[in-house]
């Protein structure tokens, strides 16, 4: 009997593996948990996109539940989610943009800040402006600290400045209702 159990071992290991493979089929391999969850926002000092002499730091997130949305005019999916973000704003959500520009980089050719501001203005005039204000991630180091892999990505930040949710991809009614709303409502209720 003891011998039988030894030879049964491969089958048991295989069955255990099977459970994971089955689960794996129904989850997106690209989606991953952010390591920043339940952490405070990383420290930063960055200018406002429109008024570059004004600067922000991580303290601006304290006291209010905020949605921090990483975006750029070059990003197609961001344009798709702008109208829905606009709706969320009208429902009273506080949305802050983290503007991520690809073109301010010596390797890609330099674009003036005025040019970037112009593009942003045009885009927001066309699709609606959900943002209370936009933080300009000049050298993209805040995005790096946040573990941003692409745009759009959205962070839900609570009143104490802690990150509670990190979503990769666009926000639409389904994502909002299943992923954001439960946490958001709880935070606001406090």
């Amino acid at each position: 009997m003891k011998k039988f159990m030894i030879f049964l071992l491969p089958l048991l290991v295989f069955l255990g593996l099977l459970a994971f493979l089955y689960q794996g089929l129904f989850s997106d391999p690209r989606e991953h948990e952010s390591t920043l969850l339940e952490q405070s926002m990383p420290k930063f000092v960055l200018p406002d996109l429109m008024e570059t002499q004004k600067t922000y730091s991580q303290e601006i997130f304290e006291g209010k539940v905020t949605l921090l949305n990483v975006w750029g005019v070059w990003c197609v999916t961001c344009a798709v989610e702008l109208p829905y973000l606009q709706q969320l704003k009208e429902d009273g959500k506080h949305i802050v943009g983290l503007y991520y520009d690809q073109d301010i980089d010596p390797d890609f050719g330099i674009k003036t800040v005025a040019r970037v501001q112009q593009e942003v203005k045009e885009k927001l005039a066309q699709l609606g402006n959900p943002y209370a204000f936009n933080i300009f991630d000049v050298k993209r180091d805040l995005s790096l600290d946040l573990g941003v892999t692409g745009a759009p990505e959205t962070f839900l930040i609570d009143q104490t400045g802690k990150i509670r949710l990190h979503h990769i991809g666009d926000i639409n009614p389904r994502v909002w209702n299943t992923k954001f709303a439960p946490i958001y409502n709880k935070l606001v209720a406090n």
Partner: protein, 668 residues
């Protein structure tokens, strides 16, 4: 019309596969000769129907029938004709048809070339291959039919074959790899047939050994070709990336290597029986698992985003039936197997067992590294990624004891080896390989300790292999019976197979060691006429020209390479643009040589008209693949051994149950 015939032919093949899996098995159970005899014609029928279906799909490709969805997705009217033939396996559906066709080829080969094997065993083996076939046909017909039409609205032209696959390496790599993967199904079928009959003596090992060696040789070549293709086509200059798809091919190869050795022990010494059966099941199971991992999208790979879970679910079902079923049977039967050979603590058996353990450990490392990200995430512990550093480190630890045993094993005797005689040989071999390895490595500038280790290990393998051959022929030569040359000729082909296999491994190891330690690369910005120095080679950028290919346009960089002011080579590195797929491909310019490759890849054009180029000098990189081919040739030598061809011997072997002594005399 032909596509419909192809579809019908696939359905017919499924029917034949069902018959093949039922009647011969039933006949073997009942002892009914006629039913068992049906196995061979049914195997031929399954092959013919599948081959016809394959022909129909090829016809659709060659004649640009874009009403067939699969053709529209993977071909284009401007695709060169030779790539239309290979585009048949350029996508999911068609490559699965090729996979199934290859299963039929193996089944047919077993049916035709197994005259020496008892009818009952053959009937069971073919029936099991038929069962595997059923699963594959159902998968194709239900979830990924290559003959689905796009009627009535079909595109005027196709989406074209992925440019990465428009390449010579891709013409031969998948068939070779599949021959290996699917070839393990034969070893699997023999093992299961033996489990069903309960006759797990050494005869089944003898029967399945040539088939396993053949599959292993194909897989060796297939994996090497894949690595070679990645090296020159992807333009990153690397030759192995520990990508899930590479791991999926590498795992069956490692276990297959263990199986080839374990089969030899089981055949010759009648020990490790249950272990060998397990390896046979494991090798094919890992092939199937690899298929699942790549085609279901559970792991991040290039195409996983849009894959549909129904396919994955179906393959998972197949895994449950095939792997789960066989492991269950194994649990039931293996506990009754008794190994009746005896061997001492210092013996070839023990050394081979040790190597088997290291090979299995290596497989587990690859399996863990591939699946841990998935398991970790599903347990809710967050995402992790496991990359090359993990695998490199683990393999560095595992390979040292492995290589040590690889050298000692062939030098020692079966059953019992005197430790004193062995340790003397070990000391000589160790001394020689230490001095050879350190001496060669000292010849390189800025030599590293890792390279020292790698070279000493490689020379250890070479020297012990030569010592083994010398030890084998020495008695005859000193007795004056034969000359050295004559006694070398008297060694059996399967012995030469082992020698070549081990030497090939050493050659690969030398390549890996030197290219890892002394690879040099530079990323440079160059204008016309600029030159750059690397490892004593002067690369001169002569300029860019335009090229119009059949279905692409390209910028071609011309680079002249000088060594000591002598022109060594002129390299052409291309950057191709494929308009249909809107894809840019790098076609590196490579000058391959015995002791080094010169490699130039063309990057982007910069604002001021300069170009960025990547230049590598890769020492001894060709040895990696050359070693793999030597190993595969070793496999071919082993198969050609007369032992496997002579019916009389096989019959003797099967009657050896009554007279085990008889068998011992023949095989020792």
């Amino acid at each position: 019309m032909l596509a419909e015939l192809g579809n019908f032919s696939l359905i017919m093949a499924l029917m034949v596969a069902i018959l093949l899996s039922v009647y011969p098995m039933w006949g073997a159970y009942k002892g009914h000769q006629k039913m068992m005899a049906m196995a061979k014609p049914l195997a031929i029928g399954m092959f013919l129907f599948t081959a016809f279906a394959y022909f129909c799909l090829t016809y659709a490709f060659v004649h640009d029938d874009f009403s067939v969805a699969y053709v529209a997705n993977t071909s284009n009217s401007t695709l060169p004709i030779y790539y239309k033939y290979t585009a048949v396996w350029g996508g999911h559906e068609g490559s699965f048809l090729l996979w199934t066709l290859i299963l039929c080829v193996w089944t047919l080969a077993v049916a035709l070339f197994s005259k020496a094997i008892p009818v009952k065993v053959l009937a069971r083996v073919l029936a099991i291959l038929g069962m595997v076939g059923i699963g594959f046909y159902l998968f194709m017909l239900l979830t990924s039919n290559p003959f689905d039409r796009l009627l009535p609205f079909y595109p005027i032209d196709g989406k074209d074959l992925n440019p990465l696959l428009q390449d010579f390496g891709m013409i031969i790599h998948p068939p070779m790899l599949y021959m290996g993967y699917v070839g393990f199904s034969v070893a699997f079928a023999f093992a299961i047939a033996a489990l069903i009959s309960g006759q797990l003596d050494s005869t089944w090992a003898r029967w399945s050994r040539p088939w396993t060696l053949a599959a292993w040789s194909f897989l060796t070549v297939g994996v090497a070709l894949g690595s070679w293709w990645a090296y020159y086509e992807l333009g990153w200059g690397g030759w192995w990336f520990w990508d899930p798809s590479e791991n999926a091919a590498f795992m069956p190869w490692i276990i297959g290597t263990a199986l080839v050795h374990s089969l030899a022990v089981t055949e010759k010494r009648k020990v490790f029986k249950s272990w060998t059966v397990f390896l046979a099941i494991a090798a094919f199971s890992l092939s199937l698992l690899g298929t699942f991992l790549i085609r279901s999208g559970v792991l991040v790979s290039v195409h996983s985003f849009a894959s549909d879970p129904s396919r994955g679910l179906f393959i998972l079902g197949l895994l449950v039936v095939i792997i789960g079923g066989s492991l269950f049977l194994y649990a039931l039967r293996a506990s009754q197997i008794k190994s009746n050979g005896r061997y001492g603590l210092v013996s070839r058996e023990v050394f081979l067992m040790g190597n088997n353990i290291f090979l299995t450990a290596a497989t587990l490392v690859v399996l863990l590294g591939t699946l841990l990200p998935l398991v970790h995430k599903e347990l809710g512990m967050g995402s992790i990624s496991i990359g090359a550093p993990f695998f490199d480190q683990m393999f560095t630890y595992l390979i040292v004891p492995f290589v040590l045993l690889l050298g000692v094993g062939p030098l020692s005797r079966w059953k019992n080896q005197s430790l004193q005689a062995l340790s003397k040989q070990i000391m000589i071999a160790l001394g020689l390989s230490l001095s050879a390895g350190l001496l060669v490595n000292a010849g390189f500038e800025q030599s590293t300790y890792m390279a020292d280790l790698g070279l000493v290990m490689s020379f250890w393998v070479i020297i012990t292999t030569v010592m083994e051959v010398r030890q084998r022929i020495e008695p005859q030569v000193t007795a004056g019976k034969y000359s050295i040359w004559q006694s070398l000729q008297k060694l059996t082909p399967s012995h030469w197979g082992m020698v070549l296999g081990h030497l090939g491994f050493a050659v690969t190891l030398i390549g890996i060691t030197l290219v890892s330690a002394y690879n040099t690369e530079r990323n440079v910005r160059m204008a016309e006429g600029d030159s750059v120095n690397l490892q004593g080679y002067e690369f001169v950028f002569k300029g860019i020209s335009q090229l119009q290919g059949p279905n692409y346009s390209a910028d071609v960089a011309h680079v002249d390479v000088y060594q000591n002011s002598q022109l060594v080579s002129t390299l052409k590195a291309e950057k191709r643009f494929y308009p249909v797929q809107r894809n840019v491909m790098t076609e590196a310019g490579i000058d391959s040589g015995f002791s080094r490759d010169l490699f130039v890849a063309l990057g982007e054009q910069l604002k001021n008209g300069d170009w960025s180029l990547r230049i590598y000098v890769k020492p001894f990189i060709n040895w990696i693949w050359a070693g793999a081919f030597i190993m595969a040739i070793g496999g071919v030598f082993s198969i050609s051994d007369k032992r496997y061809r002579m019916g009389s011997l096989a019959r003797n072997a099967s009657s050896a149950k009554e007279n085990p002594k008889n068998l011992m005399e023949q095989t020792s």
